[in-house]
C-alpha cells in the first residue's frame, strides 16, 4: 500500500504555515516588548492588536500587490504602491494606539510606544520578511517543478530507448533465423557452430545488453560473431574485411549501437546482389574517441524496398545517438561512387 506524500502547498498546510509564522512573530515581539519578567495581560493585548494592524499590510502585499505588479515593467509601480500601503497602515497603527484605542478598550491604558518612523520600520520588516518567505517558497516550487520535468523527460527517454532497442532485436533475429533455415535445408556442416554463435548473440541481446553501457571489447566480439554469421549465409562473392585497432581498456559504449550499422550494411549491400559485394569495417580508438567506418556496396535490394521501410535501422541508431551521446558524436552517412559509407566519431565514457 502506498502512502500519499504530504502536500506542502495544500490549503490546510498553507494555513498552518501562516499560523506558525504569526504565532512565532507574536511571541518574539511579546518577549521583546514586555516590561517585567512575565508578560502581563496588557502586553498580550498590545502585541495582539499590533499584529492585527500588520495583517492588512502583509496580506495586501502578498495577495494583491506582489502577484499583479512585481514583474518586469511594473517594478517601480509596485515599489510606489507598497510604500504607500506601508505608510498608510503605519499611520493607522500609530493613530490607533495613540488616540483611537480608548474607544475600543476604555479600561486599558497604553500608548504607541514607538515613533511613527519606528512603526514604519516594523511594517517594512514584516512585509519584507513575508515577501521573502513567499519568494523563497516560489523558488523551491520552481526547482521542484524543474526536477520533476527532468525526471519525466528522463523516463520518456528510457521508454523511447527501450522501444528502439526492441526494434533492433527482431530485425536481426528475423534475418539470422532465415539464414539458419537456409543452412538447415542445405544440410550445411557449419550449422551447429552457427547455432552456437547465434546462441551467444542472443545471450548478449537478451541479458548482457540490458545495461545502459557495455564494455567496448564485448561489443567488438559480438560484432565479429555477427559478421561471421553473415558470411556463413552469404554467397562466395561476399568480401568482408575488418581492421580493428582498439585499445578498449575501460571504455564503454551503448549496447547494440555499432551492430545496427553492420546489420544494415549486410542487409542493403549483400542481399539480393549477384555481382561483387563487400562490407569493409574499420574500427579504431584514440584516447576515448571511437572512429568507426563501414563501407558496403550499394545493394539491389534498396531499389525494390518500400519507402517507409528504407533506413529504419539507421534512423533508429541516429535517434539513439542523439539521446545517449548529445553533442558527443559525429555521424556521416552517404553514397560514395558505388559504395555506401558510414563514418562515426564517438566520444565514449571512461569507466574504472
Amino acid at each position: 500500500m502506498s502512502r500519499n506524500p504530504i502536500n506542502f502547498n495544500g490549503p490546510l498546510s498553507r494555513i498552518l504555515q501562516h499560523l506558525a509564522f504569526w504565532v512565532l512573530a507574536y511571541f518574539i515581539f511579546l518577549h521583546i516588548f514586555k516590561t517585567s519578567q512575565q508578560a502581563e495581560q496588557i502586553d498580550h493585548i498590545y502585541t495582539l492588536l499590533f499584529h492585527l494592524t500588520l495583517l492588512p499590510s502583509v496580506y495586501l502585499n502578498l495577495e494583491w500587490l506582489l502577484p499583479r505588479f512585481a514583474k518586469k515593467g511594473t517594478w517601480i509601480l509596485y515599489a510606489l504602491l507598497l510604500t504607500l500601503l506601508i505608510i498608510i497602515l503605519s499611520w493607522i497603527n500609530y493613530q490607533f494606539f495613540q488616540n483611537w484605542s480608548t474607544m475600543l478598550l476604555p479600561d486599558y491604558f497604553f500608548i504607541s510606544y514607538f515613533t511613527f518612523t519606528e512603526v514604519v520600520f516594523f511594517f517594512i520588516v514584516y512585509t519584507a520578511l513575508a515577501t521573502l518567505i513567499k519568494l523563497s517558497k516560489s523558488w523551491f516550487s520552481v526547482n521542484e517543478l524543474e526536477r520533476r520535468l527532468l525526471q519525466t523527460e528522463k523516463e520518456k527517454v528510457q521508454i523511447e530507448l527501450k522501444a528502439l532497442r526492441a526494434q533492433i532485436n527482431p530485425h536481426f533475429f528475423f534475418n539470422t533465423l532465415n539464414s539458419i533455415y537456409s543452412m538447415a535445408l542445405e544440410k550445411d556442416d557449419r550449422l551447429p557452430t552457427t547455432v552456437l554463435q547465434l546462441s551467444d548473440l542472443m545471450r548478449y541481446f537478451l541479458y548482457e545488453s540490458r545495461g545502459e553501457l557495455v564494455p567496448l571489447e564485448k561489443e567488438i566480439i559480438v560484432l565479429k560473431d555477427f559478421i561471421s554469421l553473415q558470411k556463413l549465409r552469404s554467397h562466395q562473392t561476399l568480401e568482408t574485411s575488418t581492421d580493428i585497432q582498439v585499445n578498449s581498456d575501460g571504455l564503454k559504449i551503448a549496447p547494440l549501437l555499432l551492430i545496427t550499422f553492420v546489420e544494415n550494411a549486410f542487409k542493403h549491400g549483400a542481399k539480393g546482389n549477384t555481382g561483387k559485394t563487400y562490407v569493409h569495417l574499420s574500427l579504431k580508438t584514440e584516447s576515448d574517441t571511437l572512429n568507426f567506418r563501414l563501407e558496403n556496396n550499394l545493394g539491389a535490394a534498396d531499389a525494390t524496398m518500400e519507402t517507409d521501410q528504407k533506413g529504419v535501422g539507421l534512423e533508429n541508431v541516429k535517434r539513439r545517438l542523439e539521446l545517449l551521446y548529445p553533442g558527443k558524436y559525429k555521424l556521416e552517412t552517404g553514397e560514395q561512387g558505388n559504395s555506401f559509407v558510414v563514418q562515426l566519431y564517438l566520444q565514449m565514457q571512461q569507466h574504472v
Partner: protein, 227 residues
C-alpha cells in the same frame, strides 16, 4: 556633583504626597517646555505660603551657585538645553516647620492641557551647617512628580497630581503598560518610562480624570498683596 542632585531627600519631604507618582525621567523636555507668567507670585494653601518665581530670578539659584558651582545646575549636560531650562523653569518654594523646601517646575502644553513636573532641588534648614545650609541627604533617589495645572482665574491655580494608587493598581491588574520599578517590600514605586512615553501618555489621557488623584489635588489662591 551632579549625582548629589539625583540623590536628594528633600523632595520627598517637601511634597509629602504619598499618593503622587514619581518618575525617573522628566516629563518636560527642552523642546516642549513653555512658560506662563501668571503662575508667578505668592500663593496660599491651608495657611501655607507657596512662592513661585522664574528660576533666573530666584535667590536660591544664586545661593546654590555660590555653594555648589554653576555646573550643578547643568542637569542635561547640554549647554543649549540647560540654557533653555534656566530661562524657562520656575522655582517653587514653601516653608514648613521652619524648613524651606524648593522645587524646580517646568511647564508643558499638550492639547488643551498644561502639565508640569516638579523636581525637588533643595531644602534649606537654618539649623544645618552654615557652610552648607541646603542639607542634602543621599538616602533617597529623587524624581519628577507630574501634575496637571489648571488656572480657572488669575488668582486660583489647581495642581492635579497623577494618582499613584490608580496607576499601581492598574499595572498590577495588567491593564496599564508603563515602564516602572516596584519594590514590594517597601511599597515604593517609580515610573521609569522615557520622557517621550510620558508625554505621549499625558497627551492621550490628559482629559481622563481617572488618572488624577482627588485627594492630592492642591488648589492655590493668590496671596493678597496687602498681607
Amino acid at each position: 556633583m551632579k549625582k548629589i542632585f539625583l540623590m536628594l531627600l528633600s523632595g520627598i519631604a517637601m511634597i509629602s504626597m504619598t499618593s503622587c507618582v514619581t518618575s525617573l525621567e522628566r516629563l518636560v523636555t527642552p523642546d516642549k517646555i513653555t512658560t506662563d507668567p501668571r503662575i508667578t507670585g505668592n500663593w496660599l494653601n491651608d495657611g501655607e505660603e507657596f512662592k513661585i518665581v522664574p528660576m533666573q530670578q530666584s535667590e536660591l539659584v544664586k545661593d546654590l551657585t555660590r555653594f555648589l558651582g554653576k555646573s550643578t545646575f547643568m542637569t542635561t549636560g547640554d549647554d543649549e538645553k540647560d540654557s533653555i531650562f534656566l530661562s524657562k523653569t520656575y522655582i517653587v518654594s514653601y516653608e514648613r516647620n521652619d524648613v524651606q523646601y524648593h522645587m524646580i517646575a517646568g511647564l508643558m502644553k499638550t492639547g488643551n492641557n498644561v502639565f508640569l513636573d516638579l523636581f525637588p532641588v533643595a531644602m534649606n534648614d537654618p539649623k544645618a551647617s552654615e557652610s552648607n545650609p541646603y542639607g542634602f541627604n543621599n538616602d533617597y533617589l529623587s524624581g519628577y512628580t507630574i501634575a496637571k495645572l489648571e488656572m480657572k482665574s488669575n488668582s486660583s491655580l489647581t495642581l492635579k497630581f497623577i494618582d499613584a494608587s490608580f496607576i499601581t493598581e492598574n499595572i498590577k491588574n495588567g491593564k496599564m503598560r508603563v515602564k516602572h520599578e516596584m519594590n514590594e517590600l517597601f511599597g515604593t514605586f517609580m515610573i521609569t518610562a522615557s520622557s517621550t512615553d510620558l508625554q505621549k501618555f499625558v497627551q492621550k489621557y490628559g482629559n481622563d480624570e481617572r488618572i488624577f488623584s482627588k485627594e492630592s489635588s492642591v488648589t492655590l489662591t493668590r496671596k493678597p498683596t496687602h498681607l
